[in-house]
């Protein structure tokens, strides 16, 4: 396609899609990672307090 030099950017939806997809993937991955670490720490805390109670008995 021969586009005259007008200073106007033509097309570019590929770049737009890439930017939104990468943003979505990075943010979703980070949200999932924070949720997973939160759940894991809660579970560990419950386990540890159980062991602590058992030790006190």
């Amino acid at each position: 396609m021969n586009i005259p030099m007008t200073g106007v950017v033509h097309g570019g939806w590929g770049f737009v899609t890439a930017a939104y997809v990468i943003t979505g993937v990075i943010l979703t991955s980070y949200v999932v990672s924070v949720f997973a670490r939160y759940r894991a720490e809660r579970a560990r805390q419950t386990r540890d307090s159980g062991r602590q109670a058992e030790g006190n008995r």
């Binding site: 950017v9 770049f15 930017a19 943010l27 949200v31 949720f35």
Partner: protein, 246 residues
């Protein structure tokens, strides 16, 4: 008030608000991105490529905000010495590094079709890269230092030093000749472009506040177990009598 609260630990019971903030942030981002991609008109010179700015600009604004929060947390820890500020500081730095990395990637994707290059050692881009690597270095520092007190103090001091780069990033486009355009204001942006920009800006704001709340609880729980006395060994299973074992 329990003993942990007296010691200045973060209250882990209030994490529910974090989930709510994340939910609102995600919803706003979905609405703002839909308007930015499918409702807002194309820009006169940049055509459709400018739609990248609806995620890039809000991410950039919030990167500076979250690092400002990290700076405030670091300063509060050094002044007050309570552990909750260290947990908040750790969370803010991590969330900020994710956003700063994202800003660099989004900017690079925008630069290729508009500037013709993926990256340029332009003052704005260079100072933003310094910001990303500086705070990523603070995360690495926190990983390598085992003593919680030293880790908290050293990383707080490092954050205060690295934060000097934030105003430099902001003013770089005014102080030096830069390929990157200067800051826009509502007076320089047409109304149809403002709506998705603002919706996404609030979306990223709610998202990082929520993530920061949850992540700081994770840091607080780890800190508690690090500082707690060692747990008793699990009791061994009762030995069976020789007759029963047979």
């Amino acid at each position: 008030m329990d003993a942990h609260q007296k010691a200045g630990f973060l209250d882990e019971g209030k994490a529910g608000r974090g989930f709510v903030f994340v939910g609102i942030g995600v919803a706003l981002l979905l609405v703002g991105s839909y308007i930015g991609l499918f409702v807002a008109p194309a820009e006169e010179f940049m055509g459709d490529v400018y739609r990248i700015l609806y995620v890039h600009v809000p991410t950039a604004w919030n990167t500076m905000l979250v690092f400002t929060w990290a700076f405030a947390c670091a300063l509060s820890f050094l002044i007050k010495g309570t552990w909750k500020w260290d947990s908040r500081h750790e969370a803010a730095v991590e969330v900020g590094v994710v956003l700063a990395g994202l800003v660099c990637v989004q900017g690079s994707i925008w630069a290729k079709p508009t500037w013709g290059v993926w990256w340029d050692w332009d003052p704005r881009l260079t100072t933003t890269a310094v910001l990303f690597f500086g705070f990523a270095g603070i995360l690495a520092l926190r990983k390598f230092v085992d003593d919680p007190q030293k880790r908290a103090v050293w990383s707080a001091v490092a954050t205060i030093i690295t934060y000097v780069d934030v105003p430099i990033v902001y003013f770089s486009v005014r102080w030096w000749n830069s390929l990157h355009q200067i800051q826009s204001s509502p007076n320089t942006v047409s109304a149809p472009f403002l709506i998705p920009l603002r919706v996404n800006a609030f979306g990223v704001l709610f998202l990082w506040i929520g993530l920061s709340m949850l992540r700081s609880r994770v840091a607080a729980m780890r800190l508690r177990s690090e500082l707690a006395p060692p747990l008793p060994e699990p009791s061994p299973a009762p030995a069976l009598a020789p007759e029963a074992a047979r």
